[in-house]
């Protein structure tokens, strides 16, 4: 399989604390990777560095062999999409509008000049793609709903749909099951899997909930104190002694 994302020696420190310490990570096209680790292990920081919202002190990141630009919006247009640990939706916009923003921005087809030429209305292909994505995530009925009225599970699904609408190559999803109960997290995992099957997007998922990780990830990478301590299948990583000590809190044998 071809390598999609390549993270080489990324380091980040906040003050005196090294949060991400020389992390190497490879993700193949279409692969689903789980990222686990205790709180403060550097998972979310690594995510933000890949997405471009935080800049790394050292190291480099490649997408399909090409170095990524610096800013988050440029990276998004190159094909990296993400969801957030604390759901970030656009207040005042309908669900459909959320998808339109992401789609038009990604294609570079939104902006002052398009509007001033009088082409501000949504085109048919744009509309079709948005509705397809909503269908895929199972929330087509909510297209015209205001997001403030939705449940947390629905809000997370909207965030997912917004991330997927422009058909990214890589989806970063940060604790999608946080705050959801068992059945809701399973449902979200199910949506993730079906989306991956039909669009071929590679997924990196940060998650504490073992059931969700097991359901989504083909490969699991464990972080501790900013370093990769294990990398392999779910069962291998969970059986790893270091992982059991740092993450599951078991005394070392």
């Amino acid at each position: 399989m071809t390598v999609l994302l390549e993270v080489r020696g990324v380091r980040k420190r906040f003050g005196s604390q090294v949060v991400v310490d020389s992390v190497d990570l490879e993700v193949s096209a279409g692969e689903a990777v789980g990222l686990i680790g205790s709180n403060g292990a550097g998972k979310s920081t690594l995510f933000s560095i890949i997405a471009g919202t935080i800049s790394a002190d050292d190291g480099s990141i490649f997408l399909e062999g090409r170095k990524l630009p610096n800013r988050a919006d440029e990276r998004a247009r190159r094909g990296i999409a993400r969801t957030f640990q604390i759901v970030q939706l656009f207040g005042g916009l309908s669900v459909l509008d959320h998808l339109l923003v992401a789609l038009q921005a990604h294609n570079g087809e939104a902006g002052v000049f398009r509007d001033l030429r009088g082409n501000g209305a949504t085109t048919v292909p744009e509309m079709t793609l948005c509705m397809e994505t909503l269908e895929l995530c199972g929330i087509a009925k909510l297209a015209h709903a205001q997001t403030t009225m939705l449940s947390l599970g629905q809000r997370r699904t909207v965030e997912l749909a917004r991330a997927l609408v422009a058909r990214p190559k890589l989806l970063l999803t940060d604790e999608p099951s946080s705050g959801l109960d068992e059945s809701e997290s399973l449902r979200l995992a199910h949506i993730l899997n079906s989306v991956r099957r039909s669009t071929g997007v590679a997924v990196v998922i940060v998650e504490h909930d073992l059931a969700t990780v097991a359901a989504v990830a083909e490969r699991v990478v464990a972080l501790d104190a900013g370093r990769v301590i294990a990398n392999g299948t779910f069962d291998e990583v969970i059986a790893n002694v270091d992982v059991r000590r740092s993450w599951l809190g078991e005394a070392s044998a």
Binding site: I36, N39, S151, S178, G179, S183, S246, W247, G249
Partner: protein, 238 residues
């Protein structure tokens, strides 16, 4: 004696009713978990009890005060501490300042003692007491919040999803501190989304479904109840 009692409570946000006809009461020293899926109204219960969400009808008393007429800060002075979902710390204050804020009305010497006590409960952070709360990890923030609540000697401790987003090892740390709170004789009210987690901590569990009481009884029975419910009628997420 009942420290918390709720009778035929209706409450909600604007036109949306989150709680419908809810009644229960909690005795002094009891530990009760409130469990339910998203939107079942479990956080609303906590917010109603501390006066953050207005009551539309019915009655709720905490420590003998009618919640409808007592402002939040009065309830807190009576001995209720509500740790809201997520953090509950002032991120622009340091660890020790956050603890001091809880017991700011005590004389200086006693205040110092309380800070020491809290730092002891937290354990790992004793050398970082001047660190701003925003520089701590999520799990550490919650440890600080809970231990500063404990040293303020509350009569009732309302914990809204204290372990949300924490790794298994951090969850164990938070529960350990909550157990210490129980040993101080605090009446504990724990809001959780998962019935299986609360087993070791709370002897009694209240299950909410769509704003209504679905189950009220021993925790071990509650887990079976919840599991059964999902088999029969899986909640839809849309």
């Amino acid at each position: 004696m009942n420290v918390v009692s709720v009778v035929n409570l209706f409450a909600g946000y604007g036109p949306y009713q989150a709680l419908m006809d809810l009644s229960f009461s909690i005795e002094e020293g009891e530990s009760v978990a409130i469990v339910g899926s998203n939107g079942a109204g479990k956080s609303t219960v906590a917010r109603v009890l501390s006066g953050l969400v207005p009551i539309s009808s019915g009655m709720a008393t905490v420590l003998g005060c009618d919640v409808r007429v007592t402002p939040t800060h009065e309830l807190v002075r009576k001995g209720l501490i509500h740790l809201p979902e997520g953090v509950g710390l002032f991120t622009n204050l340091s660890i020790s300042e956050n603890i001091e804020l809880r017991c700011r009305n005590l004389p200086r010497i006693e205040r110092r003692q309380r800070v020491e006590e809290a730092m002891e409960i937290i354990g790992s952070l004793s050398h970082r007491r001047t660190t701003l709360a925003r520089d701590l990890s999520g799990g550490q923030q919650r440890l600080v919040a809970i231990s500063s609540a404990i040293v303020a000697r509350p009569a009732v401790l309302l914990c809204d999803e204290p372990v949300i987003g924490l790794s298994p090892v951090a969850i164990e740390g938070v529960y350990e501190v909550l157990r210490q709170a129980q040993s101080h004789g605090v009446t504990l009210l724990l809001v959780e989304s998962r019935a299986d987690r609360v087993q070791g901590l709370c002897s009694r569990t209240i299950v909410l479904e769509r704003g209504q009481l679905a189950f009220d009884g021993p925790s071990n029975t509650a887990q079976g109840f919840v599991a059964n419910r999902w088999l029969k009628d899986p909640p839809r997420s849309n």
